[in-house]
């Protein structure tokens, strides 16, 4: 099924500017198919540090497991469709609902309230499957990934396999024009291989080089990539334009490609 998605999406890309009706049919087929696959998820409650955390699990038979922070049940439909497509391609996806578990509102400041021990506990559960575990987060949630990766390295022998940072927003404070920005303290504290994905149509693209160099201070190998013609949070935007809808449909491919890159980086390290 996943291979069929890929063929259709590639066709979609090739004809997107020339044949709108074929393009629409392809995209529609993908969305309908993805809806069927979404039903394949299950919700498992894990007891971690005496708190029950609901985790949406998209099971797969492959040896890779992608663990995403900090999902919020009911507000991540595009992520669910992406997770379903990835699972169809062999990547198991876990989406823990960290905010509900700790009764936190979906606010940037809530990320600081999520205990590191809970994140560590979930990683342990994920590793218990015997799969290679990769982390993923977007926006301000990327701070959680860097935080837990740093603590994990200090306290565990088995390494994680890498992390994908989708349009990371890691400024410590509002950027001041003419001054190199300061990043949150966890930047540069892990040696986990990192893929940094940023939208081309966001001012943050101009900070990718600066952020990458700060992340590398901890020993991480960092590979960055711009996603053409999209703004940040493109898959969550209610006003998404045609390019952003297309990029959302291609997100599973982009993540799969990133995992393959991380695998290579991991072997090198």
């Amino acid at each position: 099924m996943y291979n069929l998605f890929r063929i259709l999406l590639l066709s979609d890309l090739i004809v997107c500017k020339r044949n709108f009706s074929f393009n629409s049919v392809c995209l529609g087929f993908f969305l309908v198919s993805a809806c069927f696959v979404v039903n394949a998820r299950e919700v498992t409650a894990f007891d971690v540090t005496n708190v029950s955390i609901d985790v949406r699990i998209f099971k797969a038979t492959g040896n890779r497991l992608l663990l995403g922070f900090a999902c919020d049940e009911g507000r991540s439909h595009a992520e669910e469709q992406t997770a379903a497509a990835l699972a169809a391609g062999g990547v198991e996806v876990w989406m823990p609902d960290m905010l509900s578990a700790y009764m936190l509102p979906n606010l940037p400041s809530s990320r600081h309230e999520i205990p590191t021990d809970a994140l560590l506990g979930l990683i342990e559960k994920a590793l218990a499957t015997g799969k290679e575990v990769y982390l993923i987060a977007s926006g301000k949630d990327t701070e959680l990934v860097l935080r837990v990766a740093s603590v994990w390295e200090d306290s565990h022998e088995k390494p994680l396999s890498g992390a994908i940072l989708l349009f990371p927003r890691l400024f410590k404070a509002e950027p001041v024009p003419g001054v190199i920005p300061e990043y949150v303290d966890v930047v540069g504290k892990t040696k986990l291989p990192l893929i940094l994905l940023e939208g081309e149509r966001t001012p943050n693209r101009w900070g990718v080089k600066s952020l990458s160099s700060q992340l590398e201070i901890g020993g991480s190998q960092v590979v960055s990539q711009l996603i053409p013609s999209v703004r940040g949070y493109f898959f969550k935007r209610p006003d998404a334009n045609r390019s952003e809808e297309m990029a959302t449909a291609k997100l599973p491919d982009l993540i799969m490609e990133s995992l393959l890159k991380l695998e290579h980086m991991h072997v090198k390290n």
């Binding site: 509002e174 024009p177 003419g178 001012p203």
Partner: protein, 169 residues
């Protein structure tokens, strides 16, 4: 003595109020002002050094930036209100295509100089990481203030503060 202290305190308070009213922040970065030499939409090259003797509002903006779109009419008004003093607006587009900028201009109709930086060289040199990012450069070519985010550029407080910069040179 007490009266003098109270007067100084009052002046300090007024000074703070003035800065917060316009959101302009006193620049505390490097004294070394980066170079800026870019083409406008007609192909004319603009060099920042050529504008010494004028107060310059140098803005880095993008078509996808909602505050940029919203504040540009107030920049048109600011230009009119500053017509009696040496003042120039240079607005650098952050690495977009000519087609994207042309479409934006046809809708928003900026009346000041738009510069193109397709490779983003000036963006890196000026350490710009967000849009809109603004620099207020005095008549000596020194950066005096910065401002991140949208603002009403034609407010009386803003005009007064920018004109004061001309007078104090």
């Amino acid at each position: 003595m007490l009266k003098t202290r109270l007067f100084i305190l009052l002046m300090m308070l007024l000074s703070c109020m003035q800065v917060s009213a316009t959101n302009l922040k006193i620049f505390k970065g490097d004294d070394q002002v980066p170079a800026l030499q870019l083409q406008d939409l007609q192909g004319k090259v603009h060099n920042l050094n050529d504008y010494k003797g004028q107060v310059v509002l140098l803005q880095f903006w993008a078509t996808y930036c909602p505050p940029c779109r919203k504040e540009m009419p107030s920049m048109n008004n600011l230009q009119k209100k500053m017509a009696d003093v040496p003042f120039k607006i240079l607005a650098v587009d952050m690495g977009e295509s000519r087609a994207e900028v042309d479409e934006f201009i046809s809708q928003v109709k900026p009346e000041f100089t738009i510069l193109m930086d397709p490779e983003g060289e000036s963006i890196a040199a000026w350490k710009v990481y967000a849009a809109p990012s603004n620099f207020i450069i005095d008549t000596q070519g020194k950066i005096r203030y910065t401002l991140y985010g949208g603002v009403e550029w034609d407010s009386p407080e803003m005009v007064k503060q920018l004109k004061a910069l001309v007078v104090t040179q």
